[in-house]
Structure formats: structure tokens, C-alpha cells
């Protein structure tokens, strides 16, 4: 295959990626957009096997190894993506992003070993960039995975002199990067990779649980940029285009997500440096709460005129999306006005609730976004909060200095009655106490969301 044809097909793949991102930006074209992207990526991968790089010949060297490695990747990647629970998708995306960053760093290291002293200064600089950012993306994503999978604490990890350690690590990363550019050599590059991995860990540890999706998005953009830099070193226009597209769109997306949560990007990433450790609401203090039975809830609902359902991560965990729809349909059949109040970042990722409720075929027009539903809480008789916590916590409006301060919330505190379906009194993902739980107009229904809702449905049917 000639270089021209090879480049033309690469260009077509680049166009496919633009169309993919464009398609993914609109609900109706999203799925097609994703398929176009997959087509472009498949095409780009296929064509590499038919073009001999300068100094090489067809078939590719080590062809068996290459195909075997792809097969291993398929065997790991496809089942993981197919079998993952809806609740675990965010961490899977984090993991996929991490391995992408790791792949980019490895490619850069191999190319560096290969070029040896023949590498131009520009190539070495791009290699250093890819190794640093790829490693940060890799180790940072692993930490976000551990946080989301709750294999480690979801709270900000702040250690003494943390900010100095992080700053010192960053300075050493840059210093060793300069050393690689000047002195060349394998050892400096490996030291650089090690330090960058460490920096990725330190960079993500202080980020609070609720901000993790923003960090994943940012690391995603980072990985994009490493791919673009690899494109320069490997003389591949396609990699430059694809990487830059992801880097740019990922940056915008990160900003949009931060806006949806009412956070400045800077605050999210560096908030933990300035925040003092929380004195977790006088921990351990026992305060009275009002808990109710499913029958109490059913009676309250039966005489309501307007009910707003606020779903959160607990709904996803309990897989209660079908049951909640059953309850909503039942209430509607009784002439009650029902809406779902969707917080943009309820769950573990923006849009998480929309995806979940769409799975249960909840009609789109019953889903109300935050700006739409907030002014109506004053006329709402009952707000049912199902496994959500931080997104309805009034502390975000009233307690300056708490980790979620400034985040827009669903103002369920304005509703006449509030019902919380909770597993326990454990605070939400951000680890902050919710005053609303102790409010006299709040009733708590403890237990698994699905089991509780099923009981409420049968109690309401019996009325």
C-alpha cells in the first residue's frame, strides 16, 4: 500500500472520529456516533497491517506476537465491558482510560529505546511529555477506580505536609524530564516514569469522592494529548488528529461537568490543598431521627397531590429503577402529579440517573432537570429521596467550607414532606453529615431501596 493511500485512510478515520464526537453530543445520534467512531478506529487499526513503514517490510515483523496481544486485549476488554453492572460503569471507564494512558507511555518508552541517540531534541521532548502525562493518567485512573469501587476511602486523603510532598514530586518530575532531554539514557527515563506514576497517585488522592468524575474526565483529556504527542514522534497524522480531538473535547467536557456541579476546575483539583480536614459533624453523636414504615409512606403518598422522586446512587446499587417506575405509574393512576428530579451529577457520574431510568423505560417527559424542578418544590407535598444524599444536602448552600459548598442542590428542603430511603445513617459519598435527615418533616425508611419500594407499592395498592 502506498503512503498516500495509507494517509488517506488515516484521514478518513480522523473524519470518523469528528463525526463520532459530533454524534455523541446529541441524544438521537449518540449511538450511531459511537458506532462511527468504532468503525474509524477499526479501519485505522486494520490498515496498519498493510503498510510497510520505512525500513520495514510486509508482513509486519513479530506479526504473531502482535495478533496474539490484540486477541488477549479483546478477551479481557470485551467481556469486562459487556458484563459490567450499570453501577460500575464509571470505574470501568476510569480503568479503560488508565490503560490507554499506560499504553501511550509504553509506546513512547519503546520508541525512545529504539531511536537511541538518533532522536531529535523535539522527539525527545515529546517523548518526555508522553511518558510523564501517560504515567500520571495511568496511576491517577487506578486511584479513581479504587475510590469508585470503594476499595479505598472515598474521602479526600490529606496527609501532613501533603502539598509540599506533591509540589516536590512535581518539581522532581520536571527536573528529571529536563535531565532526560539533556543527557539521554534509559535510566533517567525509567526514573521519570516512576516519579510520574507517584505524582499521579498523589495528585488524585486528595480529591473528594464527589469530584472524582471531573478528575476522570480530565485524565481522559490528558491521555488524548499523550496520543497526539505520540503521533508526532511516530509520524502519524491520524494519532495527532485523534489525540488532539480527545484532548480538546475532553477539556471542554471537564469544564462542563465542573459547571454542572458548581465547582471551579481549579477548586476541584486543588481544593484539598487548602481545605482543612473536616471535623465530621461532631462524629458519633446520636441524634433522634424519625423513621417510618412502608405503610406510613404509602399513606403520605396516597394523599399527596404532587410528588417528586429524587434518585441517587442507592437506586443504582439496589437496581430499583423498575420498582420506582412501578411506584410512579401507580401514583399517576391515582391522579397524583409525579416528576423525577434529576441532579446532573446524582450517582457516580453525570447523567448516571438518566441512563438508569431510561433502562426502566421511564418516559422522558417525567424527568425534570434541576433548574426545572427546583422552583416547584414549594408546591410539592412529598419529595422521595431514594439513595441520594449529597445532591440534596442543604450544607452545600449553608455551610461555607464544607467540601460540597457551592454545588447546586435539589432543594427538597422546600417540600412539605421528605422521605429518605436509605440503607443506613452512613453519610453520602462526599462524607458529610446531612442535617436534613434530622428535620422534623423528614421520615426515614431504612433498608434496601428495592425491597422498601416493593413494600410501599403493595401498601399503596391496598389503600
Amino acid at each position: 500500500m502506498s503512503r498516500t493511500l495509507y494517509d488517506l485512510i488515516g484521514l478518513a478515520a480522523g473524519v470518523a472520529f469528528i463525526l463520532a464526537l459530533k454524534g455523541l453530543s446529541h441524544p438521537k445520534t449518540a449511538r450511531r456516533g459511537n458506532l462511527i467512531g468504532a468503525f474509524g478506529a477499526g479501519l485505522a487499526t486494520l490498515v496498519v497491517f498493510f503498510y510497510a513503514n520505512p525500513g520495514s517490510s510486509l508482513p509486519l515483523n513479530h506479526l504473531g506476537w502482535i495478533l496474539g496481544a490484540i486477541a488477549i486485549g479483546l478477551v479481557i476488554g470485551v467481556p469486562a465491558a459487556r458484563k459490567v453492572q450499570m453501577t460500575q460503569m464509571p470505574q470501568l471507564v476510569a480503568l479503560f482510560n488508565g490503560v490507554g494512558g499506560g499504553a501511550a507511555a509504553l509506546v513512547a518508552i519503546v520508541e525512545y529505546l529504539h531511536l537511541g541517540v538518533e532522536a531529535t531534541t523535539a522527539e525527545v521532548i515529546f517523548t518526555v511529555f508522553t511518558v510523564i502525562v501517560g504515567c500520571v493518567s495511568f496511576s491517577g485512573s487506578i486511584i479513581t477506580f479504587l475510590k469508585l469501587q470503594e476499595l479505598m476511602t472515598t474521602r479526600p486523603v490529606i496527609f501532613p505536609a501533603g502539598r509540599f510532598i506533591i509540589a516536590a514530586t512535581l518539581v522532581s518530575v520536571i527536573g528529571v524530564g529536563g535531565w532526560v532531554v539533556n543527557a539521554l539514557g534509559t535510566s533517567p527515563l525509567l526514573i521519570l516514569a516512576g516519579l510520574s506514576l507517584l505524582f499521579g497517585v498523589l495528585f488524585v488522592l486528595p480529591v473528594g469522592g464527589a469530584d472524582v468524575p471531573i478528575v476522570i474526565s480530565l485524565l481522559n483529556a490528558f491521555t488524548g494529548l499523550t496520543v497526539a504527542a505520540s503521533g508526532y514522534v511516530l509520524d502519524s497524522t491520524l494519532l495527532i488528529i485523534a489525540g488532539t480531538l480527545v484532548g480538546a473535547s475532553g477539556t471542554i467536557l471537564t469544564r462542563l461537568m465542573a459547571e454542572a456541579m458548581g465547582r471551579s476546575l481549579f477548586g476541584t483539583l486543588f481544593g484539598a490543598f487548602t481545605a482543612k480536614p473536616q471535623d465530621v459533624a461532631a462524629a458519633g453523636e446520636e441524634r433522634p431521627v424519625r423513621s417510618g414504615s412502608p405503610d406510613d409512606v404509602a399513606i403520605l403518598l396516597n394523599y399527596a397531590r404532587r410528588v417528586v422522586i429524587v434518585p441517587g446512587f442507592g437506586l443504582a446499587v439496589a437496581q430499583a429503577q423498575h420498582t420506582v417506575r412501578e411506584l410512579a405509574d401507580l401514583m399517576i393512576s391515582k391522579g397524583i402529579d409525579v416528576a423525577y428530579g434529576i441532579h446532573p451529577v446524582a450517582g457516580r457520574m453525570p447523567g448516571h440517573m438518566n441512563v438508569l431510568l431510561a433502562e426502566a423505560n421511564v418516559p422522558y417527559d417525567q424527568l425534570a432537570e434541576m433548574d426545572e424542578v427546583n422552583p416547584t418544590f414549594g408546591q410539592t407535598d412529598v419529595a422521595i429521596v431514594i439513595g441520594a444524599n449529597d445532591v440534596v444536602n442543604p450544607a452545600a448552600q449553608t455551610t461555607p467550607g464544607c467540601p460540597i459548598y457551592g454545588m447546586p442542590i435539589l432543594e427538597v428542603n422546600h417540600a412539605a414532606n421528605i422521605i429518605f430511603l436509605k440503607r443506613s445513617m452512613r453519610p453520602g459519598f462526599a462524607g458529610i453529615e446531612n442535617e436534613l435527615l434530622y428535620d422534623p418533616k423528614t421520615m426515614l425508611l431504612f433498608g434496601d431501596a428495592k425491597a422498601s419500594l416493593t413494600k410501599v407499592v403493595s401498601a399503596l395498592k391496598a389503600l
Partner: protein, 93 residues
């Protein structure tokens, strides 16, 4: 390639990237992030190129690892995005 040509491609791609996603409802933030994530899996192309011209066992070993990781990123990314978007079907008004 000419440095100026590369710079032009880079700058134009930055603006295209900004433009295509500038107005996205929060509903689609997660699938969009996941789709973009899958797209950077094309680093697989780079991994295959370096595997092809690797001369030592170290180079080959590292590039094989890169191919495995990149394949997981690309294929897994597109499959998981499709699964997310599959949930939206039947909801079009």
C-alpha cells in the same frame, strides 16, 4: 513532516474538538466521555508500529504490553459506550 503542517493540524483539531462538544446536555456527559475515551484507544496503531520495528526483546515485550492495554482501551471503550447508549433507545419522542 513539516513542523508548521503539524502545528496547523494540531491547532485546527483543537478548535474542532472544542466546537463539536460545546453544547451537550448533562445527560450525555458520561457516554461522551466514554466515547472520547475509546477514541484515544487508537494509540493501538502506535503500539503496532513500534512492535513492528522493535529490535530487542525489551522493546518487543513493552510494545506487546502496550498493544494489550490499547486494545482493552479501544474495544472495551466502544462496547461500554454502546451499552450505555442502548439504554436510551425507546425513549425518543
Amino acid at each position: 513532516m513539516e513542523p508548521m503542517a503539524i502545528l496547523s493540524i494540531f491547532v485546527l483539531a483543537v478548535f474542532v474538538g472544542f466546537e463539536v462538544v460545546s453544547k451537550v446536555s448533562s445527560t450525555l456527559h458520561t457516554p461522551l466521555m466514554s466515547g472520547a475515551n475509546a477514541i484515544h484507544g487508537v494509540i493501538l496503531v502506535g503500539a503496532i508500529i513500534v512492535a513492528d520495528h522493535s529490535e530487542t526483546n525489551l522493546e518487543l515485550g513493552l510494545s506487546i504490553a502496550a498493544i494489550i492495554l490499547a486494545t482493552i482501551n479501544m474495544v472495551g471503550g466502544f462496547v461500554v459506550t454502546d451499552r450505555m447508549l442502548e439504554m436510551f433507545k425507546g425513549n425518543k419522542k
